[in-house]
Symmetry: C2
């Protein structure tokens, strides 16, 4: 079984005929025809239906195309990795960060190891997606929010956790629309932006915020979005109250565009957390982790 075999089969699948495939593979048609024959003989099975013109993949081969693409990519990656004697020391790292953290704290955190000259890829996703990327090794380190009393981090027994800092989830609203909010409040209603029940912040809202709002007024979800950045925008327009990680709202509060309603409504302390797989062996990830850890300890000492 060779990368070449896989690529020959994929070429036929992708270009529709032996003739087109042989041109793409820079081989004459007879040689290509014989190549495919050799592969079939080596495997002891027919891979193509030649009674049709152009020849067609057998269905069981068609079922394996995705697998072949994966293996083809994997073999190419292996070649590159084996060739890269010194470059292994400059391998990349993939960070999966919650949207709100990606927009605020992640750049500063990444700055902590910028001098290590590591090719750093940042992916922004919701919390569960970040963790899934860690679980499936598509990312090396995740930055997520954690809330004391909320659900444990899923898969925690597979993970190593590091507390980087603290951020609060605070209620904010447009400063210049406060009278609209006060009118709703006088009617006993609280218009809010709700996060979906199936995302972390939605769970936090439902378990730790909304129950405490019933003493204030009837919660009126005006909109539901999983994206904190979108929730922030709706708060800015005075559409409804949004619970936003404080760093994300900080600039707007400073210029007076948004008001922090924490004195009247509940805010939730959150921990900014890094997570990686416990069995991570990559020295690169280890270096980054150590750097994040060292500067987090230094910060908590201040």
């Amino acid at each position: 079984m060779r990368l070449e075999w896989i690529e020959d089969i994929l070429a036929v699948a992708e270009h529709g005929s032996f003739q087109a495939a042989c041109e793409k593979r820079n081989v004459s048609q007879p040689a290509f025809s014989r190549r495919i024959r050799q592969i079939e003989e080596a495997l002891g099975v027919s891979l193509f239906d030649r009674s049709a013109r152009p020849a067609r993949l057998s269905s069981h081969v068609h079922d394996q195309l995705d697998r072949m693409r994966d293996l083809s990519a994997g073999l190419r990656d292996l070649s590159a990795a084996l060739r890269d004697v010194e470059g292994m020391r400059r391998r990349r790292i993939v960070i999966a960060s919650q949207h709100a953290i990606a927009a605020t704290s992640t750049p500063e955190i990444i700055g902590r190891f910028a001098d290590l000259d590591i090719d750093t890829r940042l992916r922004s996703a919701n919390r569960d997606d970040c963790l899934a990327q860690i679980m499936t090794r598509r990312a090396d380190i995740a930055f997520i929010h954690d809330v004391a009393g909320a659900q444990e981090i899923p898969g925690a027994e597979f993970l190593e956790i590091l507390h980087i800092g603290s951020e609060a989830l605070i209620p904010v609203y447009a400063h210049d629309r406060l009278d609209t909010l006060n009118q709703a409040y006088a009617r006993g209603e609280l218009p809010v932006i709700a996060y979906p029940a199936d995302v972390f912040l939605g769970q936090v809202q439902r378990r730790m915020i909304f129950p405490r709002l019933t003493r204030v007024g009837r919660v009126r979800p005006k909109l539901e979005t999983a994206l904190t950045l979108a929730a922030l925008e709706f708060a800015r327009t005075g559409f409804a109250i949004a619970w936003i990680p404080e760093p994300l709202a900080r600039a707007d509060i400073a210029i007076g565009r948004l008001v922090d309603l924490s004195t009247t409504l509940p805010s939730i302390p959150m921990t900014l957390t890094a997570a990686r797989l416990s069995d991570t062996v990559s020295p690169i990830v280890g270096d980054v982790w150590d750097r994040i850890q060292a500067q987090s300890c230094a910060r908590s000492g201040v």
Copy 2:
């Protein structure tokens, strides 16, 4: 890049020398020496340190051994899959089941598709591990417990969920040690088997059971185990009260060895749930899923 190349390199790594590797590979030493040279020339890099005797893997090659093993297995699997024109219809399915479910309901559920003649592998694990196996495609279908009001199933947006049936998590204790329990109760104490906080049943205990026990007495965790089967055993010996999925305790209750304390202590209704990845394309998994679903609908109609 060929499977052969990978296997040659792995042979050296595993047998410690070219000489030993060539014997394992059924090739003469000179041919093997030249083979390795050809691979190095094709890649344009040295893979071994020959200044030592026996020759040693370069460290960057050593770092890729696991990857090579994975690719080697993947290529062999592909060959087998391509060869297996008709056997694709008899491919195996991997079920990941929570320990307690594996010991009770899973055999009956598997029996529902026994006539489909599918090679079925059952793996027993804790709940999060079951889900991780699904997330990482090491298993096709998971059987887990779900509790209304507890955390959503992690990764639910990636999953398709099917409710199969209902089971209760019930408090049980040894019938012949009830006077010991009553003495503790009279002292205002409740000796319990605790599940660890980082597993699902531990979370259910802490959130939905223990808070309701404070009206009864002071909760005394006497032991902590994640394994429901172990908890059951401790309840049988009168060590402490254990919360056990009802089917697991059913036989002991029927013969009077265990007492179901649900009339005095809280029991929790649970849903027996099947989960698979939403993007599952395997017709085999689809058939099994449909069969489980059809018989679950039939059962809920009774």
